[in-house]
Structures are given as C-alpha cells and as structure tokens.
C-alpha cells in the first residue's frame, strides 16, 4: 500500500516537472501566435476584468502597507521623512488618492504633449493592474490591449519619463517590459554633450541604470540628462521616438568611462510605484476608452 502511494507520488511529481519544462521549452521555441501563448492570452483575457476590479478594490490596502514601509525607510532622513509623511498621510485619504491620480495623468499628458511624441502617434492612457513578484522579471500588466490599438513594441512612458515597451498583448491587457528588465536595451543620448550609448539595467537595482558603449573621450558629468536617441538608419530604426527623458547621470567616473565606456544613471520614472502610463501607439483601428 505504502509503496503504491510512493510510486503514485513520484509519478505525479515527474509528470508536473515534465509539464513545466515542456511549457518552458515550447514557450521559447514557438512564435507569439503559438498555442501556449494562445492559452496564456485566453486566461489573461478572462481574468483581466477581475484583476482590474481587484486592483481598484485593494488599492487602500496597498497604500496602507506602503505607508508603513516608506515611513520606515525615511527614518534616516529627517527632511525627506517630513515630506513623505505629509505625502503618505494624504495618500491615505481617498480623495487625495484621486487627486494624486489626476496629477499623474496630468504629468503624463504633459510629457506626451511636450513635442516629443512624433506625428501619427496616438497615446493611450492605461492603468497598471499587475506586477511581477520577482526582480528577475521587471514587467507590469496594463489594462489596455490589442483591442485599444496597443501593439507589441509600442513605447510606454510614465509621468516623469520612459517606462518601457509593450512586449505582449491580449485583447484587454498587455505586458510592459520596463527599462529595468534584464532583456531591456534603449539607445540613448546624453544632453547637452550629445554622446550616445545604450541604456541597460542593473538587475535587482531599479534605481541604477547603466549607459554602456559610450564613445571614448565623451564629456559626461553628473547631473546631465539622458534622453532616447531614436536613431534611424534606412529601414532600421529605434522603436522609441527621440527626446523622451530617461534619467539623469548619477555617477560618471573617468576611470569607468575609459575602462568600460560606461556611466550610471537614475531613471526619472518611479517604476516601482506607477498607477498610470501612456502607450505611444502608432496604429489606428482599436476601440478608444
């Protein structure tokens, strides 16, 4: 009897492990229109209205927990603490939450109406409804999908700057891979020096990005701004329009610039705490909400 149980347990375990590995393998081998992606799309489409509702309903709980966490973090810095306590108190009040959301939306409008959005681009505002629980996948889920005109590779901006790009879509939702994700790389330009490079993440540290592959002898100093380069060479071009703010240089040592052609920057957008983003869609035909 006991042996039978052990055999059954091992068989089920082997079956589940084999199923997981098969899924992993199929997912990487098939195109985005394959059957495994299809199943994922269906499940995500079914659950996205529930996620959207739960996101709104659970926001006060999140805010309360975040209030405790951020208050603790702020202990070492008195001035910062005072500002944060004031801000977080406001966040506890529901009306102030709405005001903050409006402010974020205004920031989004400001960034997309500031002349950086190219002609023919149609920004779609989306709410962030889901986030990956691990630092290895720096992605968020938004409540707008292919039905709203969102397509894969569309750039995504937050209130303060570039957030990432769309990497998967379903009719009602989409996955945004943030610029802090291990797979992210954005061509960028330092202003005013004009030096160009590629912004890459430092996995696990959302406040530190690296601008790699800089030309030797570039005159880069701390505090300078980094924006998207938006290069275009024949048919080949960056998916990001030029001039979207990414961050500011926080560390630019001569040694690191000469040895590794690299400087460090901090992203403008608070990628761990965004409620709204704008997807810069370039396609028309989706329903508008």
């Amino acid at each position: 009897m006991y042996r039978k149980q052990v055999r059954r347990r091992r068989a089920v375990l082997l079956l589940l492990v084999a199923a997981s590995l098969t899924l992993l393998s199929l997912y990487y081998r098939e195109s985005s229109g394959g059957p495994v992606h299809g199943v994922q799309d269906v499940v995500s489409t079914v659950f996205s209205p529930i996620e959207s509702g739960a996101d709104r309903a659970l926001k006060p709980v999140r805010d309360l927990v975040n209030w405790f966490g951020e208050t603790f973090d702020a202990r070492g810095d008195k001035a910062k603490l005072e500002d944060q306590v004031a801000t977080l108190r406001d966040q506890l009040a529901r009306s102030q939450t709405q005001q903050q959301e409006a402010k974020e939306l205004a920031g989004l409008n400001e960034i997309t109406s500031g002349g950086i959005v190219p002609d023919g681009t149609d920004p779609v505002t989306a709410r962030v409804i889901g986030r990956s629980p691990t630092v290895w996948y720096s992605t968020v889920t938004i409540d707008r999908g292919s039905g709203d005109g969102v397509r894969i590779d569309d750039p995504v901006v937050a209130a303060q700057g570039l957030a990432g790009k769309v990497t998967q879509t379903t009719p009602n939702s989409a996955q945004v891979t943030l610029i802090t994700d291990a797979d992210s790389a954005v061509t960028a330009r330092v202003t005013p020096s004009g030096a160009t490079g590629v912004v890459q993440p430092n996995v696990g540290n959302p406040n530190d990005l690296q601008l790699d592959f800089l030309e030797r002898g570039s005159d880069i100093a701390e505090g300078q701004m980094v924006v998207t380069a938006g290069f275009s060479t024949g048919d080949l071009g960056s998916i990001f329009p030029p001039g979207i703010p990414i961050g500011k240089i926080t560390r630019a040592t001569v040694e690191e610039q000469q040895a590794y052609q690299r400087v460090h920057l901090e992203p403008f957008a608070d990628l761990r705490d965004m409620d709204f983003v704008k997807v810069l869609t370039t396609h028309t035909g989706g329903r508008k909400r």
Binding site: R8, R9, V12, L13, L16, V17, A19, S20, L21, L23, L24, L26, Y27, Y28, V36, H37, Q40, V43, S44, F47, I50, E51, A54, D55, L58, R62, V65, N66, G69, D73, V128, I129, G130, R131, S132, P133, T134, V135, W136, Y137, T139, T141, T167, Q168, T170, A174, Q175, A182, D183, A185, Q200, P201, N202, V203, G204, N205, D208, Q210, R272, D273
Partner: protein, 184 residues
C-alpha cells in the same frame, strides 16, 4: 487532508484568489524595498497541511495561473511553486507536523528556495544584462518577510481547508462534549 469535491473547490477558489491578489496587490507593495510573496506561502501551507502530492499540484496550478496573468514565460512560476509545495509536503511526511518555530524557518527558507529557483530559470534561459548584488539582498529580505508571515498565512489556509484536515477532525472528536444520557 481528505480531498473531497468540496475541498478541491475551496482549494481552487483559494488558489485563484491568491494568484490575483499577488499580482494586483502584494507585488505592488513596497516592504523594505521588496514585496511579500504570499502565493508561495499559501502553497507552502497547503503542502504542510495536505502533503507533497497536494502541495505540488496546488503549486503547479497557482504558478501556471500566475504565468498566465503576468504574461510571463509559461512554466517558470509553475515549476517554482511546484517545487515549494512538494518540499513543504515532504517535510510534513518525513518529520511530521511542524511546530511554530519550524513553520517560521520553513517560511524563510522556502521563500529563499523560490528565489533561487526563479534565478536559476532566468539564468538558464539566458540573461545579457548585469546582475546587481541587490538581487541577493532582495532574496534575503523577501525570506525574512516570508518567515514573519508564515504563521498567519498557515492559520488562514488552515481555516479555509479545516473541514478536510484529519488532525482537526481528531481534535474536534476528542474535545466534543459527551451527549447527555436520556432517561425514562
């Protein structure tokens, strides 16, 4: 754990609710620079209460739903949570019902194991970017939070599946008052 259709329905509802709450709420919380992994602790609790088979199947199911909700690599969270459910269940089957300190230790160590499995999958499938040392800090802080929340989560899961637990039934039988003897 006695798996009746009612218990399975409860486990399914618990799994769906936890997966949605993890994605829309817990992952967005910022606690000491990271976020609590409640889905993992729920799988661990089911493993402790129901054994390795129930734990592994629950972990696989919740993980697969997480993969779908996040539009992430299918199978990554399924494999991670399946491992957690199985290991927690095997602990119960080999060592016995864990006392409170052991639950705390299990919460911390299995959260760390989950972080290691996810890291191994990510590294195994290829990574081009630099990896910060803060990944280690994130895993350690997450484990600490997992240790702190292990007992409350276990209590909550026990409440949900209480009617199916053999230990609870024995306890209830032992503590139930004797019936009055009818006379006449």
């Amino acid at each position: 754990m006695i798996l009746t259709p009612g218990t399975l329905a409860r486990l399914a509802a618990l799994g769906a609710a936890v997966a949605i709450a993890q994605v829309v709420c817990f992952s967005k919380m910022d606690v000491f620079g990271t976020s609590p992994d409640i889905a993992l602790l729920v799988v661990m609790s089911v493993g402790i209460l129901g054994g390795s088979l129930t734990g592994a199947v629950t972990g696989f199911s919740i993980g697969l739903l997480l993969d779908c909700l996040l539009l992430e690599t299918m199978g990554a969270f399924a494999l991670t949570l399946l491992t957690i459910g199985y290991v927690a269940g095997r602990y119960r089957e080999t060592v016995g019902r864990p006392p409170r300190p052991a639950v705390v230790l299990l919460g911390g160590s299995l959260t760390l194991l989950g972080a290691l499995v996810i890291a191994a999958i990510q590294v195994g499938t290829g990574i081009d970017a630099n990896v910060s040392f803060l990944v280690v800090r994130d895993a350690l802080v997450k484990s600490l939070i997992g240790a702190l929340l292990a007992i409350p989560v276990l209590w909550t899961v026990r409440l949900v599946v209480r009617s199916a637990l053999v230990d609870e039934r024995r306890g209830a039988r032992r503590t139930s008052a004797p019936r009055p003897v009818e006379s006449g």
